[in-house]
Symmetry: C3
Subunit: 345 residues, 3 copies
């Protein structure tokens, strides 16, 4: 673990990140840090007053800001998008999970499966009949790719990912450990002998550059497809039920759940632990705040909160009113008493 | 993937599904479709006005209905239970996940384990001491069956299922990927050195035909058994804590949680993200709507909603009243002003 | 499975548990039971009136109580902490999951990894470069320990645990199946080509004696560390996002979620399905009741409930008032009518 750490002078770093340096060009920077940490070899970014305050209370090698802040002790790199510039710096520190080239000797690949020669198939991987793995894809240990699946070029399947059957991934998807794609949708028909499983014979289709967080599950459709659009990102422990359609460039935070046949638009944001009822439709550019529960269609862009999900200002007004409710009860009692007196007088 | 697709004339299909044909007996049907999709080789079903409307706006080969609808362009198959008839058709399209007969050479089976000769044990499976696997069961890759477990005849364990120890499955259970049965219940006793784990020495017992969705967890009991009754179905990412008892033919949707020692009756329905507090008891035939939280016993059948869970009509009335609450505050202010005036006059 | 069961006379058992026997010293006890079960060879404990009542309605070999209860039919063991005494008894019934000594021949251990000779590495385990496994640790089948991870002495990783990279576990941690540590934090920066992943180059660090329940996920920090303190216990399906800091001796129940950069103090209790918003701080010794949602800092110890989380008494008062709200609306209508009459008279 003892190894030469990389470092850059600010004179080198500012152009690398595409920003303008205000400060000492000789200052050496060795690592990214969090705003608020003191580290003279560290660089952080500050997008808001709050984080700027944290930086001012600490000693850092440099800070990335959207505009110059006069009187700041720290060296500054000014960049129109500090978060993006910081992300560029972080790229220099990426150390992708190791995996060897080729197909590991312990991987079991069905003879009918087609594996691109540039794909990397780790140890203890199982790949079933009629499945494809595209160029440059990485399939880490203990992944299971079942029957008739297709993994696009450049996809990364971290250890312990399961694609059951008829699952298609576009290029450049990243699936974190424990992801399960293509399990049966949850559909049963009552019968005299109890609940009969309705066969789930549909598929799952992900667009390009979709990320799925650890232990997230996406069920196959009853018929047709469960679909997730290009560039959409799901966090950990998210549930996507059968026949759900999610548009492109949407973001779903952890533990959110989307019930069967719901439709989620493009550039939607779903907060943590939020939920969407089955067959409900959410328009493009809607934000559902954390824990929001959409039990009816949401048809206009904007932020929604509460159960049922309503425009956030309405929900906050109602919440504020509920806080005053016990007092209100007393005021009503007082009014009734006063009225009683008045009517008797 | 290019293969001859099966197809049926409606004259063949109607008796196969047990329905009565109204329409063209020569029409060929090749696949199930969703209501609303246009596909002249497709068949769907419509149980409600809403889905019937979708069918009327599309072109389909045939639709399964509970009674004849005059004037419908599409061919009709009339069946008393359209969903069940459609499920029958879907059965014709099932392509079970492939697995070879016998015990795969890479499976590690403890010498004391008993495997029925008709069971199929896939590659990279581990089976521990004193465990049993019954006739015709399928154990897919990367399953771990630990110590003293019993898997009933006809069970299917999809890839990546874990039974830790003392887990018993009745016949015909289906466990989807990532299911974990028999992890320790969450019990600790405070001690001067911190929280001491209370040893969890009980077991998990599933009845017949229980389905558990992907990444669902069922903990072993502290003492005694955590039990799930015959025919009960759990969706993905559900939590069943130690010593929970769930009755037969109950349905639990995704991300619902049942805390320690709670008792759930027969034919209960728990909606997505709902929860039941520890030691709480839910009567037979109760429905907890999505996100409902039962923090006290629910003793009568019916539908419940909200936190705390109350009869759904009461919760909806309260929610409607809360929506009006900010206005109500204004009305009370107006009343107070009017009273003030009156009392001064 | 037919084996000699252990048993003890109460004369033997009382001193073993550190309690005082009131009753028949010759009574034989063979197993722990739940309060309420009838079993003359069984022993249970009762900490509350409710459980004492259950014991009185059943026939048990003995019951552990914090003080003698006169007139009880059952034999009594009096101990100041009945739950701890019962836990001691349970220890006699523990049967740890079987695992052989040494490194199994099918385990793939990178040559640069350091494995203590007393550690047990089960079949189908993968351990990556520059990782360490400490003395006496148990790594069960299908565990993946990636790059530059460190597993402390005495840790138990149950089957199917994933440590991706730069994950450090203190001594004596227990990780249940399906746990995923070190997946990328959920951070993206908008760009003209869509959402760009912000590289997550930080790590995960667990203190000593941390337990993580089945399918729980803890993400690596963007920079710096996601940290969980000594003795902290997390239940199943819990989400800990990037850069979260959790103090020591904290307890987090199932399906709770902690969003990015939140700080949770020491000896905090988080109930099932509760949530903490990103960047929010929760003070030491706070209890968040089940389903509570902390959307602002909680600065004083005590119990909190509701969304937003408020002191439990306030939330309960508000909930009670909401229940009366539909009636309140009627009372306000009556007041308005009366006022109208008055003002016209």
């Amino acid at each position: 673990m003892a190894q030469e750490l990389p470092s850059w002078t600010l004179a080198e770093l500012a152009p690398l990140l595409g920003g303008e340096l205000i400060g000492n060009p000789e200052q050496r920077i060795s690592r990214p840090i969090e705003a608020g940490d003191s580290d003279e070899g560290g660089i952080c970014f500050a997008e808001s007053e709050k984080f700027l305050q944290l930086v001012m209370e600490s000693r850092v090698g440099a800070v990335i800001l959207s505009q110059q802040v006069p009187g700041l002790v720290a060296n500054q790199i000014v960049h129109p998008a500090p978060r993006l510039a910081f992300a560029k710096f972080l790229h220099l520190f990426r150390r992708p999970l190791s995996i060897s080239s080729g197909i590991h000797s312990t991987a079991l690949v069905d003879p009918s499966a087609q594996i691109d020669p540039t794909a990397k198939i780790g140890p203890y991987v199982v790949i079933g009949p009629d499945s494809h793995v595209g160029a440059g894809a990485e399939i880490h240990p203990f992944c299971y790719i079942g029957d008739r699946c297709s993994v696009g070029a450049g996809c990364v399947l971290y250890p312990h990912v399961v694609l059951l059957q008829e699952v298609t991934l576009g290029e450049g998807c990243r699936l974190f450990p424990g992801v399960v794609l293509g399990a049966d949708g949850f559909g049963y028909a009552p019968s005299p002998e109890g609940l009969m499983p309705i066969p789930q014979v549909g598929s799952v289709e992900l667009g390009r550059s979709v990320d799925l967080g650890a232990n997230t599950t996406v069920d196959r459709a009853t018929v047709g497809k469960t679909k997730i659009g290009d560039g959409t990102k799901l966090d950990n422990l998210v549930m996507v039920a059968h026949n759900v359609q999610i548009g492109p460039h949407t973001v779903v935070a952890s533990q959110a759940g989307i019930a069967g046949s719901a439709t989620i638009g493009a550039q939607v944001i779903m907060g943590g632990q939020s939920g969407v009822k089955d067959h409900v439709s959410i328009a493009d550019r809607v934000t559902l705040a954390g824990r929001a529960g959409a039990i009816g269609n949401v048809e206009s862009p904007g932020e929604y909160f509460g159960l049922p999900a309503q425009p956030v200002r309405e929900t906050l007004r109602q919440m504020a009113a509920v806080k005053k409710l016990p007092d209100l009860v007393k005021r009503i009692q007082a009014i009734e008493a006063a009225l009683d007196k008045l009517s008797k007088s």
